[in-house]
Symmetry: C2
Subunit: 215 residues, 2 copies
Amino acid sequence: MKKSILLITAALLAAGCCDTVNDEQPMCPTTAEATISTIMNRKSVRSFTGEAVADSTITQLLRAAMAAPSGRNIQPWHYVVLRDTTRYTAIFGESNFNLPIFKAAAAVVVFCADTTVTAPPRDNPQAEAVTRPNGLWRDDLGASTENFLLAAEAVGLGAVWTALYPYPERYMPVKEALLLPDNVVPYCAVPLGVPTGNDQPKDKWKPERVHYERW
Amino acid sequence: MKKSILLITAALLAAGCCDTVNDEQPMCPTTAEATISTIMNRKSVRSFTGEAVADSTITQLLRAAMAAPSGRNIQPWHYVVLRDTTRYTAIFGESNFNLPIFKAAAAVVVFCADTTVTAPPRDNPQAEAVTRPNGLWRDDLGASTENFLLAAEAVGLGAVWTALYPYPERYMPVKEALLLPDNVVPYCAVPLGVPTGNDQPKDKWKPERVHYERW
């Protein structure tokens, strides 16, 4: 009997449930494996089940969005979370071909940017703050949007980046409808929801795009 | 004796080594937890140990970079991997204040973009392909750069996004030194290496940046 229970214990161990990949995690994919699988599995999701998404989940994704790198750490981003589908046509304009996707999603997050920065001149940190254009806001918003899309993929939700900027016919109606200040521009609109599973990631690997030392 | 071994077995189970967070993974952080921790832990790393990074690792990070979303799936990105530090001053120009960081890194990846697209007019897919500006290349490059930075963080490496575009005094010397075609612009330079641990992530969460339904 003792022997049989030892065998059970041995089997438990052999099954690997206490086998260690590293010191911390029994049988776990590494953070690298999990993160890179999320990056490779992220896809543009345009088909949603219609299920709701909790505000707390959206907040978690926005925390990820605000963790993006920012030129000179200016953090120009703002986010407008939309749920009232009755306003979507007025906000985005009837010509926005993504309206049906927006209306099928649980929410649409409009990524916005303050295109200005108010600070002392770079060459004179002691001087009075002045307001000037921030040349890197668009890059910060791109990184912030990608963080949001990856966090959505990671928690099992679907989203798709739909461009507003640099197209005035797309972003100006949104700027007006959302009552954005003069210095704030709507960058993109990201519908978020529970994916149906219809959308799949693309394999975009092109080794010829990698060059060494020169073109 | 049987009892004591049962207790050992019970203790093994109570220790949780076979406790399941979900059906697949005993005791594992979820993909969501791992991915979001990578996003929140990513930091701008400017201090490197000087250790080398394998080409295969850089390739893995570039696979992640090319998995970024791309407007109309144009995928405008190209990457130039630099290791020959003797050329860095000539490539980036003596005025680039990031030169010391570049020289301390294991490699510098210059993210580049084809700013044009050659395809039939959108309103006439049957017509002959024409070359025109791609209005979304900068957004695609921002997402691609963030994927690379997150993949680097995930595998335990450090990197930092240093802007070249939109500053001609920074990107023109690089464009010339790397022999880039007329339609290709250097977007940013990302030094990559083994971090010393000196650099830490910033908490950028600002709930006041989240708006609901309108500004």
